[in-house]
């Protein structure tokens, strides 16, 4: 008999996990943030070209009239529809699903904490993230550094002037890779994940904010103190692990529709699967979503950090290969 039936996470880790989840719920209860649930199985899929949605099939009659559904990769669209419906501050702890994401720090089905704060901008939300995460992992004094300052500090790179060719050349000095790409962001992401992130490993908790406008995703774009357009977005790295991604949210319906179209175009260019985008989100923004900031956090990774373990299978009872 194989041992695959057995849970991979030690019971003590599962107890810690449960305790952290209770702590999170307590945190939001005292701050009057409402816990909500939104569908895991949706009619539209995420547009982000580098997130591949897992498809499933709904049958009104057994084996007949098949309708495609998509396992949500993040509850963002649905939660924004709640905000536009007048929910006020909300949070959710749910499963999210992503094709192909399986590794030491990835499980294709993982647990996400996502919350939204009407009236907050991304800096206020960073304060709240720190207030939640600090006690869980026993860290204080989270650092904050802008994306451009980070590249200046670690790579001596000026992002205002660096060309794609320069980015590629610097990447190749650090990484052995066969890649030809004229997409600037792909090089930036590679430098971030392969060169900068590992150097953040001994830097404790670091918020990186003000991303390149081209990486705005669902955040609004504003001007930084140098007058450069930047995405009002942040990520939290703890011990070099990407833990959370937050936005001062885009509320402009027309701009949202434009970004969906841009993602679809990129998917077409790169030969990636095309799936329906969420027109209901655009409608919700059209009808009016409050100004707010929102953030998504990987809870499995938070538990890993609290326990100091390196493997996601240490904190998920039955990971993907045993699911």
């Amino acid at each position: 008999m194989s041992q695959l039936w057995r849970a991979t996470a030690p019971l003590n880790n599962l107890r810690k996990r449960a305790q952290i989840f209770a702590q999170i719920r307590e945190f939001f209860a005292t701050r009057d943030v409402l816990e909500v649930e939104t569908p895991l199985m949706t009619s539209a899929a995420v547009s982000d070209p580098y997130i591949d949605t897992i498809e499933c099939r709904y049958h009104p009659l057994p084996g007949q009239q098949e309708q495609p559904r998509y396992l949500q990769s993040s509850p963002e669209y649905a939660m924004k529809r709640l905000l536009a419906s007048g929910s006020g501050a909300i949070y959710q702890i749910c499963k999210a699903f992503r094709n192909g994401e399986c590794g030491r720090r990835h499980n294709p089905e993982f647990t996400m904490l996502e919350w939204y704060r009407p009236g907050f901008d991304h800096h206020q939300l960073m304060d709240e993230v720190e207030a939640l995460v600090g006690p869980v992992i026993g860290m204080k004094g989270f650092q904050r550094i802008s994306y451009s300052a980070l590249f200046r500090q670690y790579l001596k790179l000026d992002l205002q002037t660096a060309t794609v060719q320069e980015l590629a050349a610097i990447t190749r000095q650090h990484i052995d890779i066969k890649m030809e790409d004229d997409n600037r962001d792909n090089w930036l992401n590679l430098l971030m994940s392969h060169v900068i992130e590992p150097q953040l490993a001994d830097k404790g908790a670091v918020f990186v904010y003000d991303y390149p406008a081209s990486q705005a995703a669902l955040s609004r774009v504003a001007e930084d103190p140098d007058g450069q357009p930047v995405a009002c977005r942040f990520e939290l790295f703890i011990a070099g692990v990407e833990l959370a991604n937050g936005y001062y949210e885009l509320t402009d319906a027309a701009e949202q529709a434009k970004r969906f179209a841009k993602d679809i175009a990129q998917r077409q260019t790169e030969g990636l699967p095309l799936r329906p985008t969420d027109s209901l989100l655009v409608d919700a923004l059209e009808s009016g979503m409050p100004e707010c900031a929102g953030v998504a956090m990987g809870l499995d990774r938070l538990v890993m950090l609290a326990l100091g373990t390196e493997q996601i299978s240490d904190v998920i009872a039955l990971p993907f290969d045993r699911a």
């Binding site: 580098y50 994401e101 720090r105 990484i175 890779i177 992401n189 994940s193 392969h194 991604n245």
Partner: protein, 187 residues
């Protein structure tokens, strides 16, 4: 030869990189929340022994290398080549100095070694973790000094020189850990 897609990379997989057989020592899936997925692999070149990191795009593949680890018996050295035999098929292979490397100092006739073959040619030799070898040369032990420890060099039948306790004498058979090159005990 088969091609492995990057999602099937795993530790121990043998692949061809720029003409040389390599072994994957560590495989890490890298995927930022936003951004492309990559597989970062620590590789060991099985010819040169060099290890380094290489990053593969998710749609990249790697050609499999015909590398096989086989248990073989060490036969003899003719001064230039070291000869090994497969005890099942009696097939023999000859390994040159590059392939044998530092292992030569632990080789004793009839000992079982791990021979790594690439396209049926030996590229590296791994001696057993522990070998038993006779002392061919060492200074006489100093009687009465054993309680204080201390060590002296001893030359073994395979040519290796190891540090041994003072009570070891010429003709003793010693157990040696080949991974550290250290004396373990008398056999």
């Amino acid at each position: 030869m088969a091609n492995y897609p990057s999602n099937q990379f795993k530790n121990g997989l043998k692949v061809m990189i720029e003409g040389d057989p390599c072994s994957m020592v560590d495989v890490e899936f890298v995927k930022p929340g936003k951004g492309q997925a990559f597989t970062r692999v620590k590789l060991k070149n099985l010819i040169t022994g060099r290890t380094w990191e290489r990053t593969f795009k998710s749609n990249e593949t790697a050609e499999s290398a015909d590398v096989m680890d086989t248990d073989m018996e060490y036969l003899y050295c003719d001064g230039e080549m070291w000869h090994f035999m497969d005890p099942q098929s009696y097939e023999q292979v000859a390994a040159d100095k590059t392939a044998v490397g530092d292992a030569h100092q632990w080789l004793k006739e009839q000992d079982k070694c791990l021979v790594t073959l690439w396209n049926n040619n030996p590229i590296s030799i791994t001696p057993p973790n522990f070998v038993e070898l006779e002392v061919t040369e060492t200074d006489p032990g100093l009687k009465g000094d054993t309680a204080q420890g201390g060590s002296k060099p001893a030359k073994l039948q395979s040519g290796a020189v190891v540090r041994v306790p003072l009570f070891i004498e010429q003709g003793d058979i010693l157990k040696i850990d080949t991974r550290s090159g250290e004396y373990v005990s008398r056999a």
